[in-house]
Subunit: 260 residues, 2 copies
DNA sequence: TTTGTCACTTTGTCTGACAATCACACATAC
DNA sequence: GTATGTGTGATTGTCAGACAAAGTGACAAA
């Protein structure tokens, strides 16, 4: 016989499971508050402690967020939430910068292609404004990091593929958080960065896929070369490059807006 | 003036934050149990209810899992955890099958290339065995879905890029969960699937990147064509194709092993 | 129209208790 | 001596009830 392990769920896990299912089925609509704790006690016939523990699971899953009045309202998890998760996985699974970078190239390449096909005037404006910001802040390394992150995110958004946005966002945050290290040591990299961004922008504006992709790849190669010249070992785990507090701050307060 | 929103964290959130930081810093090593609830009460000077709610956040974040004795032990979040999250995002953000499929192509292409470069004898064996399983179960649509999922996951693992594994896994689960729909209506698609898998395998074994990629793309195009012939609208949201319970089952019990 | 006040609701935290389960050690039986 | 009961302590899951803090909404007062 085979015999699978026996798992008996606890009350609070059941509370979570049922609320999650209701949300994913659309019974609890996005934007609406979930029932009060007292009401949930009544619905599930368990005490408030169990309800509260179940709600905490729901809270961490990103399906609900607090409104002003501390009530929990149903929310579509934004990219920020996936990012937290991805970053935890990457950190604890000893993923190297090289591995992350390799995947990022692929996703940014796709983003470029799709953005060329779907570029809107509004997206172009935002990108243009971003490049201007980069020029204006060329001497402020910290600012550059955030603006650069935003540049890549804007391209991804311009691509108009929500799956791509959800998948790439966490990579972007992690990868560009490591840029800190490079930019602060390689002052001239900012000028290369600005030049590349400009080239990519021009190609996107012209709808020239190949040129956009080519320059994006150059740009990402520059990033890698910069890191290595600054003494970084690309085969080291990500965790060695960025400290947890920096990442936490980036996640809580990412550049631009989430997917919402 | 600008005025950022004021957020005062609760006790249980602080409990979570501090435990999370300790884990990511490596103070609480993977595999070790976290302190008992009583000990945490003592450390943080809060009552058990607050500790427990904090622990529930930690639990859902995937940083701890239960051992046999119900103690929570520190764990590196496996791909399963990211998958849950990604799937929730995708479902509630109305991502379409087309969007998901487009990203999947890119990641599978990368997987093929890397797998060609890093293919090990062991990975080849596993792939070979997988194809045999497919042949053996050609008449069992349900089984085919799982085995096919596993085929693609094996290639991703053979690529030897952990970031790729973490990023692609949830896409794979979602995409192939939708296959249910196709396979059950298009019996002959199984034969095409087997043929494609064989071609990809041969190319991977020969280290022939271009052929592997070409056939992988053909294979994924077949998938799309199959869906459309079966009456699926690729521009519909994923949520319309797969029900929540199927996904939940797939996540809880994925084919093969996770990243661990 | 704005501001202060009050009753009401809901959440956050505490207090204290008990049952269920597990690990571990020890005693007993074959 | 290995295997099977049994007891004890530790730990978690759940209950019960209480109160403080912070929000809402209505209404009176300036």
């Amino acid at each position: 016989m085979k015999g699978r392990p026996i798992v008996i769920p606890t009350s609070y896990q059941e509370v979570f499971r049922q609320l999650e299912a209701a949300i994913l089925r659309g019974e609890l609509a996005i934007g609406e508050p979930i029932p009060t704790e007292a009401a949930l006690c009544d619905m599930f016939k368990v005490k408030r402690s169990s309800v509260r523990e179940g709600i905490r699971l729901l809270e961490q899953s990103g399906l609900v967020t607090r409104n002003a009045a501390r009530r929990l309202v149903v929310t579509a998890p934004d990219t920020r939430r996936s990012s937290e998760n991805f970053i935890r996985s990457v950190t604890l699974n000893q993923v190297t910068l090289e591995e992350l970078w390799r995947v990022e190239i692929e996703l940014e390449t796709l983003a470029c292609r799709l953005a060329c096909q779907n570029m809107s005037a509004e997206s172009l404006d935002r990108l243009s404004e971003n490049i201007q910001q980069t020029r204006d802040n060329r001497d402020d390394a910290k600012a550059i990091i955030r603006i650069d992150m935003d540049f890549h995110r804007l391209i991804t958004q311009a691509a108009g593929n929500k799956a791509l946005t959800i998948a790439r966002d966490p990579l972007g945050i992690l990868l560009y958080a490591s840029t800190d290290f490079v930019i602060t040591r390689l002052a001239q990299s900012t000028e290369r960065l600005i030049a590349a961004h400009q080239r990519i922008f021009d190609a996107l504006a012209a709808g020239d896929e190949e040129t956009a992709v080519t320059w994006m790849k150059k740009h990402l190669n520059d990033f890698k070369r910069g890191c290595i010249m600054a003494g970084a070992d690309f085969n080291q785990p990500i965790a060695d490059f960025v400290d947890h507090d920096t990442l936490a701050a980036l996640i809580r307060n990412p550049p631009g807006q989430g997917l919402q």
